[in-house]
Point group: C2
Chain length 195, copies 2
Amino acid sequence: MRQKNSDKPSVRDRIVVAALDQFHTEGYNGRGVQEIADAAGVPKGTFYNHFKSKELLALDVLQLYIEGNSPEMLLDTSQPPLERLRAHFGFISRRYAECGFSRGCLLGNFSAEMADVSPALREALDKAFGDWTQGVASLLREAQAAGQIDSRHDPELLARFLINSWEGALLRMKVVKARQPLDDFYDVCFGVLLK
Amino acid sequence: MRQKNSDKPSVRDRIVVAALDQFHTEGYNGRGVQEIADAAGVPKGTFYNHFKSKELLALDVLQLYIEGNSPEMLLDTSQPPLERLRAHFGFISRRYAECGFSRGCLLGNFSAEMADVSPALREALDKAFGDWTQGVASLLREAQAAGQIDSRHDPELLARFLINSWEGALLRMKVVKARQPLDDFYDVCFGVLLK
């Protein structure tokens, strides 16, 4: 959580958790403050004691979602770089398998729905993708130093491409409601690109 | 257009064109029927003479968007396959450059926002992505026959991957508001994969 209201942390957290579920299944505009408050089991007035707007809530929701993807796995050097990258995407994949390959990535969903209309969300998404890119680029540099992948690749460019392609695979996964797009991603990225 | 109301084709078309602009800039849930009718310059009652629901309108909007991407370019054998594929993505890119790298792909936006909540849109998106994949796969088979790319690639798998990655690049483009994600796509796809 980005920020806690020290006198009522549990209510605030409950709202963020409920909103993550609501935004992830119905989209940002698919759910209003009333429905989020209902899902959290709090009166609408209580909602506004904790969040001045749905947009500010969405920033906390984004942070909670990112934490759930365990981005710190990328930095765990107890595993060789490429195995770690595969484990990272595998860990995230399991979140989608659990819900029938629906929902997709909240970063991607918010990008599609909100990047043009909410400067605050666009900025938060840019930072989130940027941080993720840095983590993957750092891992790719390790993989190059370890001779796991071609040293001629530009790690930053390849990291951006991998993350963008992953996001695209998750969009298609939502449409086909199956893991094929994720398998395609693994096949091409780990079988062809990261050699 | 999927279907025309023979007595008032121009009004129907005007609604679809206005809705494409509205959905593309604000998202499906970001605009209601009243706002779409206003943008088309027709009374709300007239809207419902032509479309029983916003969801049915969205199916026509999707079709109009796809036609605007000129998918027939993929089949124009007067150009060699890979040059044609690059020209295809280049043609679509120009649509985004014209609006400051915002909006993104309507197929991707609808996938993110609506694939889980509208079975009709999910089905239409699945067909659209499937048709597009077939076009690209056919081109890749040509490219293999012409010796332009490695014959060991599975053309269907590679076509799905390319389209999904393109969709991911467009999501990131909406966030960074620049063409870098498109350039990354070209660099990796045409510079590394399609060799």
